[in-house]
Amino acid sequence: MYNFEFEKPSTVADAVAALAGDEAQALGGGQTLIPTMKQRLASPSKLVSLSGITEMQGVQREGASLTIGGAVSHADVAAQATDYPALAEMAGHIGDPAVRNRGTIGGSLANNDPSADYPAAALASAATVVTNAREIAADDYFQGMFDTALEDGEIITGVKFLVPQAANYQKFVQPASRFALVGVFVAKHADGVRVAVTGASEEGVFRWSEAEAALDADFSADAIAGLTLDPSGMIGDLHGTKEYRAHLVGVMTKRAVAAAD
């Protein structure tokens, strides 16, 4: 890992100012960024830690939405997001316990790994990504593998989830990395069902609209039994072919619908 300057501001405003320089990079929990820097795949000249900013902590329920601070760890979401059990359950199965104590929701969403869990939860929950500058709807936020609507130096200060009537996340774990080989988050909202898929597509997280339409008409696993997903845009690698992943999306969606509560 190349050396860098380190700053740990205590307010969002100071963090934004610290990130203004060239090649400065925000540091959430570092569970992806530090390994990436060790491999010299990233070499920022400055890291700005977000872990000392109290206004980015906390989990709060406001009406139908649950707002989680951008610097909240996966372990804290698992323990504190009790108003949204499917989300808490999902957060409690990211990585391993030590990784969950450091990794943060804001870091995960800013990175937008194509196999990360949070992008599926955010997209299925019609979440709003709140930054220092604006609010971005999840449908506009995810722009492809490792790509988001964030501008350089923009910080995710919080994420506002719409708590659904029923929801569930099913992950088929790649056993070595514990990332999702395929993960499907199903959320039944008052105005419709949303099905978000991670791990499967070369474009990163996506909504499976055919399944959503079928589940709008009949929220049961049987309703999607006849649906198949085109494997052409799926990820194919040594862990699974495109066809295998496309098939798994259907299986995981059915399991999520059956388990949703």
Binding site: F6, K8, G30, P35, S49, P97, A98, V99
Partner: protein
Amino acid sequence: MAKVSMTVNGKAASADVEGRTLLVSFLREELGLTGVHVGCDTSQCGACVVHVDGKAVKSCTMLALEAEGSEVATIEGQAAEDGSLNTIQAAFQEHHGLQCGFCTPGMVMSAAALLKDNPKPSEQEIRTYLEGNLCRCTGYHNIVKSIMAASGQDVSALAAE
């Protein structure tokens, strides 16, 4: 270089470190706490697990400067002053929860974190909690047994060694 200060195993510790200095490097190279092991250096194996403010973390994937002002606990602080082993360490010895011993510091620290939150874990809960701690010798069975025993539970029902 920047100065970092923290409390490690109850004692104040500080040093000048680079931005890139990892917590594990600070513990091993500045403080000589070489019981904190570097196995994979990629946050997979858990040999470097220590507690920071009471929570298990992989010290190879945390910057030393991020631990400024924190309470850090390592394997070196687990035994009593006179060297007598704590409950978890004694159970690992009693139930042969180690072979080569390389993963053991991380296993003991993860076990301590688990038992703090869940004093009577089931066998499955222990196995799930140890997902981020790899052992290449024991097959895990005696590690799980040791942690069950350390929690005061009967281990005679677990499968034979």
